[in-house]
Symmetry: C2
Subunit: 675 residues, 2 copies
Amino acid sequence: DIPSEIGTAVTVQSMVFGNMGRDCGTGVGFTRDPSSGEKELFAEYLLNAQGEDVVAGIRTPKNIKTMQREMRKVHLQIENTAKTLERHFRDMQDFEFTIENETLYLLQTRSAKRSGIAAAKIACDMVKERLISKEEAVMRVLPEQLEQFLFPIFNPSDKKKFDEFTKGLAASPGAASGQVALDAQTAVEMSKKGSRVILVTKETNPDDIHGMAAAHGVLTARGGKTSHAAVVGRQMGKVCVVGAEKIKVNIPARSFSVDEKLINEGDYISIDGFDGKVYSGDIPVVASEVIQVMQGNMKERASERYLIFSTILKWADKFRRLRIRANADVPVDAQIAIKFGAEGIGLCRTEHMFFAENRIKIMQNMILAKSLNDRISHLNKLQKMQKEDFVGLFTAMNGLPCTIRLLDPPLHEFLPKREDLMLEIKELETNKSSSSLIDKKRKLLDRVEELHEFNPMLGLRGCRLGIIMPEITRMQVRAIFEAAIEVSKKKIKVSPEIMVPLVGMVSEIKFQKNIINEVAKEVLGKKKINYMVGTMIEVPRATVVADQIAKEAEFFSFGTNDLTQTVFAYSRDDAAKFINAYMEIKIDIDGKTTEILEKDPFTSIDIDGVGELMKIGLEKGKSTRKNLKVGICGEHGGDPASIEFCHKIGLDYVSCSPFRVPIARLAAARIALKD
Amino acid sequence: DIPSEIGTAVTVQSMVFGNMGRDCGTGVGFTRDPSSGEKELFAEYLLNAQGEDVVAGIRTPKNIKTMQREMRKVHLQIENTAKTLERHFRDMQDFEFTIENETLYLLQTRSAKRSGIAAAKIACDMVKERLISKEEAVMRVLPEQLEQFLFPIFNPSDKKKFDEFTKGLAASPGAASGQVALDAQTAVEMSKKGSRVILVTKETNPDDIHGMAAAHGVLTARGGKTSHAAVVGRQMGKVCVVGAEKIKVNIPARSFSVDEKLINEGDYISIDGFDGKVYSGDIPVVASEVIQVMQGNMKERASERYLIFSTILKWADKFRRLRIRANADVPVDAQIAIKFGAEGIGLCRTEHMFFAENRIKIMQNMILAKSLNDRISHLNKLQKMQKEDFVGLFTAMNGLPCTIRLLDPPLHEFLPKREDLMLEIKELETNKSSSSLIDKKRKLLDRVEELHEFNPMLGLRGCRLGIIMPEITRMQVRAIFEAAIEVSKKKIKVSPEIMVPLVGMVSEIKFQKNIINEVAKEVLGKKKINYMVGTMIEVPRATVVADQIAKEAEFFSFGTNDLTQTVFAYSRDDAAKFINAYMEIKIDIDGKTTEILEKDPFTSIDIDGVGELMKIGLEKGKSTRKNLKVGICGEHGGDPASIEFCHKIGLDYVSCSPFRVPIARLAAARIALKD
């Protein structure tokens, strides 16, 4: 609202013409290569032309190099100007120019957009050139841009040659192409035969893990960015596109379709985890050098990219206050995490270990046990296996702290699916099969029915299991301490932090802590292992009674996945369909047009809601335990905006999947520098 | 910790003997009848005996009336003493006495325990006798005690004659006996043939409503006190015992069993909704006079019980600050609510109207519609029916405020069950039935699968539906305003309060409010109907952003059922199994032995967690809208401890099921008097 009486200023400027003959021209330039970051002038121009001719794309502009021949003096002038601009602005510039009768006029200059790889290279180079400080270098690279160093990609030029037939949510970045497998078992078999496999399913479940491990990429019709497929995909560093809702899988026909397009099992497809696009055909994949160095397939010195990547991160580490941990369930993940700079494990999900082929049977027998003694005998078998897991983990971590979460998922996740059993029995009955077989299946179904829940997310899981079946907690804790003794005998320091999941009341953590301390006494005797007992804060109630809980818990770890689910009442397995719609529907609020939901709260912490409860929890927790250690281990631990928030409210650490650790390190440094 | 040096006081008192001969004796007495409340001395004694002889039950004591003959003077003395005690203590007394050589000695006196009916009668009588004030009378009756005036009961002497074979949770009070029906349809058929029916199922679903309506009582193997069966049971005033976990229903055999005990469909059982006990056989039921008066089957003046009941409530109404509303979905419930003293409807669940036999088909067609136009044509049919519902409701309420909640449950609740369809198709396929039939079923299953959710409680429901399918909101709102016009033409005032469910963000309420206001303008034109638009606060996020939400919402109603589910992460349909265990497992905290969970949070508001968030929501809401009207419409609205909490934090009203209204009125008065 500018009142009319104050008048309008008019800038009068003389026009320069690039279209007055062969000694005139116009062009745009970058002071360095915006794609690779190489320090060389990157510009294009047209003779006898105005700006719109270059932009409109009717005439193809020429590379600046040809100007050396056509207009040598001006070329030199442009080169010198580029240098002056960089020295003045201390950043790579994107500029426009016009040449009128061999005189160079600069029309505009601004900091240039660049790829992630270019951003990091330029930042490093400019430090060497003493143009900028290390602090500034760190501020010049966006955390997400580092991803480009990590994941294999498709060349854009290759993508254009293939048919993009549908699109989903980009859940785990990278690029993958291979032959379609429509279930986990088939994926494993095809992979054994040497095929590159893309697993395509309606959704994935914990028992699909071996199939995901065998596949190069995963494509699902259902689920959001934190669905099982997405979380495990990122965890494993697998390319993953989820929620491609148009996909209809037809298992009997061993095919899937999108509208009229039909793809059979075994056909080649390609999925791009950067933009969610899905192509038919086999697009070639370009591998990441950084990953090759990490895997030992390439020398550090041989890869300039690796050196740039690690230099930026080394600088970042100097400035950050937040510590960075990784979510890792098995030793191999822990090793990757350490290579990426993790300073500990923030979340080891012990149940992931139970889905292995040789264990799931024992787990099932444990669940189906008819008596406590029977159950304990199966638990004893699992204990030996869990102990070996922890030995591996503690050894890999070599003294770094290791947060181990006790069993969390509902038990029915380990049993066959209810519907499958019902259908099997129905078929056996209709075919009048042997009644003893039917009986056996029916007994299994009975137990599955007993464990069936309408809302498993809100059911018998987390510490509720460990309280009602304390023998499970005892088994896990015994495995932890026996492993700790074994590893510490090898003079390796061990720092277990035992984490009780889904606590909503102080009575729950107290009950579990009593068991943990009892078992510790039994197993350790006089041996000294420093351990902590803490809890996930992932239920809204825990945030408002955090003062009570902190009397027992020595650390908190915000489980922002579940906290987001409960604070919003959004099931992360079901919410994709309305979250996606919510992010598109517009609404005017206070004269501003916005979406119903501006960001997916499973991707970035919802600061007003979830964040507010985190603040309440943190404040209340510290009110009764001053030195309470507080971290976050939800998917948000790898999201830069969320990391910023965690820094601001004063958490001690964030924990994310191993492949997000570099991003988290950089994000933590940037917010510390901004502060 | 009393230090030994301060010494111990010893009271020395001379002993009196009741066992020194026939002119001695001992006894206990109540100044009025503790069961009926009648004003007559109720005492028992033994001659030549000491106190322990009366208590031990070895000798049968005699009624005080026989003392008139045996020891006339002492009898008169006891009668006078009783009167003196009452005048002194201003309450009914329970006293012990000994007679030594015809001299009466009083050993002890204290306020006597009494039945609910006695408590109310004595309170009324003592006001008449000018012993106590009306305020004191109100404080002398516990809210729950009023239940005894409302529900049919079994006589305890009758119960002893029958076999109690299992026990569940007492979910909806009263007593019912009848023949077992194992599904809703059978219950309806048996009831049509004139049988009294007890519906026994694993759990109930919304499509079982007609069966529950036909039954005298409902017994379920699953679910807690706020499970579907329990909520609807209380709503309908049906006797209901839920979560009788030992029951195994065997549908193919048309029977159910508890351990070795087998009950066939059609056998008689009796269930007691006061204590959750289940009996085999047909225990006679005694009806409540108050209910008979309400139903017009008995004159007010003919029932002393009714007069006592209504007198206490009349007094209570003078003292309470909280207003009391009822949860009622249909006109007949609204009428009952008004008779019980409701001052408005706090929750009308519009979806309950869609489960009626003639509507569910239209609802299903609406859900299965292939195009928006198709869907709207089905919605138009539903709109006419909804309008009639609201005409009935507004007419019954006669100007009292009426909170109408827009469609809340997920759409799949209106469709056939997924598993049933899968099994049906499997059977058709295995039998090689006609492929056109299979195709049709498969298409239905496809849509059901599309709507299927892993955690429906956290899925596409509430305002999420109304935002993604705004045509549903439009239909409902049009029905409300058309009904409002029709009723107001008959000179009946109409006060609709339109309530948007499951709001977690201000954008959601704003989006729905825009639609409501648009439709209001279209339908009302220049006609004036006062209406409000508000929201349920039932998602934790809503409590912490209540300041934003209150900018759009004119009223809040705390939906404490869903709020409890999300704050604890407890599914009310699944949590019974661990809640029950949690209420039994003991733990020491701060030197005090307690249970993991002291009270079922679905029965009484969890003050530390849910209550804390309610306080935050209330405070934030009022910070941006001073005159914000705030109530509660969860099941807790009928729970005295929760009503106390609502009074304390300053809510405007509580809303509960019609049969809980008297209890709420009394509870609200008592907390106001305590204040």
